[in-house]
Amino acid sequence: MEEEINNLRNQAFFQINEAKNIDDLEKIRVNYLGRNGKISKYIKHLKTIPNEKRKQIGALINETKYVITSQLTAKRNLIKNKAREWMDLTVPGEKIETGSLHILTYAIEEISSLFEKIGFIRKRYREVEWDYYAFESLNFEKWHPARDDWETFFVDAKDHPKYGPMLLTPHTSSAQVREMQNAIKSGDKAVKMINISKTFRRQSDASHVPMFHQFEGLFVDKEVSLSNLKGTIDYFIQNFFEGKREARLRPYYFPFTEPSFEIDISCDICNKRGCKVCKDGWLELGGAGMVHPNVLKNGGFDPKEYRGFAFGWGVERVFMMKKNLGIDDIRTVYSTDLRYLKQF
């Protein structure tokens, strides 16, 4: 009997040694140590063994059980450790090829969402316009320099009998009278517009390109004051620009607003020291003012009852003023070089 048990143990050792995986080991365990396993059978037979031998055999069985169990555990750990093969998880990944949105698109999205939060509705108005909407209805004098061939692009087309020459809109302000007229057509008694559109001027240098984008806010209602305009400007500057940027308001002149002023913001590129983009450390953000009564009238709002404010600023300009963007030439914005585009 002792020999049989010793044989069983050797057989188990051999099988454990040959086992390839955890499943094999489990089979071996069940085969020898399970409830009906080969070793367990001997335990059941113990009571048939004479007393004097029983104790000795019992000790042998226990010992065999113990060594098989410890061999199984050792082998199990070996197999497990083998599975943990060397692998470099820091290997550079295979990137998904994505594209890029243009910085102007980011700028337009950000500007429109900021103004939408305080109740302005985004619009996009015409890029090709009649003189009437671009100048005449905005109270421009007939001789105003913006109306001549040196500053505004004119289209080679027949003049409109009522609205005059066809031109490329030089500013988003051309939408003021159109939006007021549309508001009245829709039965609205007020206007809250943020018009973001392409605009065109005959110019080209580090801070001017012939085609650019502006955004124009127009608010018309019964109770509107200069303080509302100031509040709107402060809201925008505080939310659009990071960090501490100073703003200043300067009196200015526009035919379609009265009073008019220009808003400057401290230059981020040179930190107010003066550089290629700014002249004196201040960057012109754009113009603003209270809507001129003639313009309200042309839009169909009675200036005795209604007042309004408007502001019109360059999209590229304000975006270039953002902290740490580092673009100091507006022509770069319109570059189609992928090495630039892909950065955004």
């Binding site: 890029e127 090709v128 320099p145 001549d148 303080s227 100031k230 009073p259």
Partner: protein
């Protein structure tokens, strides 16, 4: 327009303790913008931007007047100083000098003959002040005219009296093709209709308000001069100056419309300076032909209108105190302020809003409180949503590898609308397609192996005599792309918009012959794509149609409880067989084919992966075999394909 004034010059007209930096800072906040301060010697030069409505500020006196209103608001005292003028000359019999002027061409002409010039040397202080404004010294007589222009904002001119034999000026319009040589020696050909001064012999001796002519220029040999000035028609000045490209300071000032009362003051100031500097004296009476009768304007404004427009309560006394130093003569009549407008602001101030502006800027925009807007809800109008959709399209394409560009609306390729005054031949037309801009952008990046660029912008389509139809287009270019990858991008794009697309291969310009794919949804064309050249695949969509056809979200389909059976089938296609046709043929052969995908192409061998699915149960091998045999039979018959393995 800008004016440069030295600090010492400015302080001739104002007494103040304000520092140079304070003057620049406060002037910018409440008046014209000081763009820079430059130190030169012991002096400083202010470079000041003046807006077109405030030509009165193109002068030292004008700037001093502004400061006298602004500085006290910042707690700094400032007092204007007056300037000296000569009395009207008293001469019994002056030398001959006559002016013949047409009121249609000029508003006012004023002149005097001055002789006995003993000194031609300009004093250093005057030279320095001129130089600060970038004006070269050209001898005392000419320097005096420029000095008065900087001082008072009225451009003047001197002629050599003895070089004008007729001693008579005739102001007329130029004829086309007439030539003049200006005092800087440059020759110009006139366009016709320019205002000129003729000595009545047909000889042009001046382009008034713009620049002098060489034939009557004053030199150190000059014995007698005509000191002359005009009030001009601003439109005529602008036209001549821009046409000839002569942008003198005089022209820049005159094209804005100068105070018509200034000419006589400038001549009287001139007589005094000629006396003081050149030891000269007048030889004639002043001739002054004034064709416009200037009447002082007045404006009325209610107290409440001012306070409501500002959103700030200002007292009547404060308001008046802001306006008086600016030259407004004001009187409160109960709650109404009656203001007399000074002549130098006549072009600029005509209504109550103008007064609000003056009050607001002197009060200080920086002192205004910040308040946000309020108001009711407005109606929802057409097009308000479309712009959001554009953003969605852009984001989608960029996620699929597209790089967004903004190319110019103005191109060199003929379109429906042409500019009258383009900047160059490459930007003469309004584009009717985004194709050219995108191809140009693609070629610019040709050193890159493979890329995808796109743009969503307007094109300009013909619309009779009306404004062009501004139609947004979504277009893009795949450069160096494998065709299947490019088409896959387009298919995924449409899938993500939940638009079902059909494709038709056709011949269509501007694509290579037979290399255009029309993309339809039902019967409607929604876009197209194809080869422009061997390396460039171009596509375009109409975003407005995409918006109509797309769905924000699809209708929910319950996923099947049973697994699909998947297998790969490789077919050998005869030459010129369209794989898309085979794929759709397989797809429509049984309702239990859930999906078919073209996987690999190797020579003529096309491997399709087929998903078989019965939503009601797990399919048996036998059922799958039947479906497979059926479609294999169909494609064998219809396309002559062979089944591999």
């Amino acid at each position: 327009m800008n004016i440069k004034i030295s600090d010492k010059f400015l302080r001739e007209y104002i007494v103040t303790q304000a520092s140079v930096d304070e003057i620049a800072k406060y002037l910018s906040l409440s008046g014209p913008n000081v763009e820079s301060i430059q130190k030169r010697g012991g002096d400083f030069i202010y470079d000041i931007e003046v807006t077109t409505n405030r030509v009165d500020l193109m002068s030292a006196v004008g700037i001093a007047r502004e400061l006298s209103a602004i500085l006290p608001r910042f707690g700094i005292e400032a007092k204007l100083k007056s300037i000296d003028f000569s009395d009207q000359p008293k001469i019994k019999k002056g030398v001959k000098f006559e002016i013949e002027a047409d009121p249609k061409l000029i508003n006012r002409v004023t002149g005097v003959v001055i002789g006995n010039i003993k000194n031609f040397k300009t004093p250093d202080w005057m030279k320095e002040r001129l130089l600060a404004s970038d004006i070269r010294s050209l001898g005392a007589p000419i320097d005096i005219t420029n000095y008065i222009m900087l001082e008072m904002g009225q451009p003047l001119h001197v002629f050599d009296y003895d070089l004008i034999k007729t001693q008579k000026f005739k102001i007329r319009e130029s004829k086309k093709g007439e030539r003049v040589v200006t005092l800087d020696g440059k020759e110009y050909k006139l366009a016709g209709g320019d205002v000129v001064i003729d000595d009545t012999t047909g000889r042009i001796i001046d382009l008034p308000g713009i620049i002098g002519v060489k034939n009557s220029v004053v030199t150190s040999n000059t014995k007698r001069v005509i000191l002359f000035t005009e009030n001009n028609n601003p439109i005529k000045i602008r036209k001549t100056s821009m046409n000839l490209g002569i942008r003198t300071l005089a022209a820049v000032i005159n094209e804005k419309g100068v105070d018509p009362t200034l000419t006589i003051k400038a001549i009287l100031r001139g007589i005094l300076l000629f006396k003081n500097i050149c030891k000269a004296s007048p030889l004639s009476l002043i001739i002054d032909k004034n064709f416009i009768s200037y009447k002082q304007k007045s404006v009325k404004v209610k107290h409440s209108y001012i306070t409501e427009s500002l959103g700030v309560n200002l007292t009547k006394k404060e308001i008046k105190s802001f306006l008086t130093p600016l030259g407004f003569d004001g009187k409160w009549n109960k709650d109404i302020l009656e203001l007399k407008v000074p002549s130098f602001r006549a072009n600029d101030i005509s209504r109550r809003e103008d007064i609000v502006e003056e009050v607001a800027r002197i009060y200080g925009f920086h002192n205004l409180p910040s308040k946000l807007i309020s108001g009711g809800i407005l109606s929802k109008r057409q097009n308000d949503d479309y712009l959001f959709f554009e953003n969605k399209l852009k984001r989608l394409i960029s996620c699929l590898g597209g790089n967004e560009v903004y190319t110019s609306s103005l191109i060199g390729v003929q379109g429906a609308y042409k500019l009258k005054n383009p900047l160059g031949t490459d930007s003469t037309y309004l584009r009717t397609t985004l194709l050219y801009g995108l191809v140009e952008a693609a070629l610019q990046n040709h050193s890159q192996e493979k890329f995808h660029i796109f743009e969503l912008s307007n094109v300009y389509l013909p619309n009779g005599n009306d404004l062009p139809l501004e139609k947004p287009m979504l277009s893009g270019v795949f450069f160096g792309y494998d065709y299947r990858r490019a088409k896959g991008v387009i298919e995924t794009f449409l899938e993500k918009l939940h638009i079902e697309a059909l494709f038709n291969q056709v011949d269509k310009s501007p694509f290579l012959p037979g290399r255009c794919l029309l993309i339809r949804n039902g019967d409607e064309r929604i876009g197209m794509m194809g080869y422009i050249d061997e390396k460039i695949i171009y596509y375009e969509f109409d975003p407005i149609i995409l918006k109509q056809k797309h769905r924000e979200y699809p209708k929910y389909k319950k996923p099947s409880k049973y697994p699909a059976q998947v297998e790969d089938i490789t077919l050998t296609l005869p030459e010129r067989t369209k794989a898309g046709d085979i794929l759709s043929e397989i797809k429509k052969s049984s309702k239990f084919i859930e999906n078919v995908r073209l996987d690999v192409i190797y020579n003529d061998n096309y491997t399709f992966r087929v998903w078989y699915l019965d939503p009601r149960k797990t399919m048996t091998d036998k059922e799958v075999k039947e479906i497979r045999n059926n479609f294999l039979m169909i494609v064998q018959k219809k396309f002559g394909v062979k089944v591999k393995n």
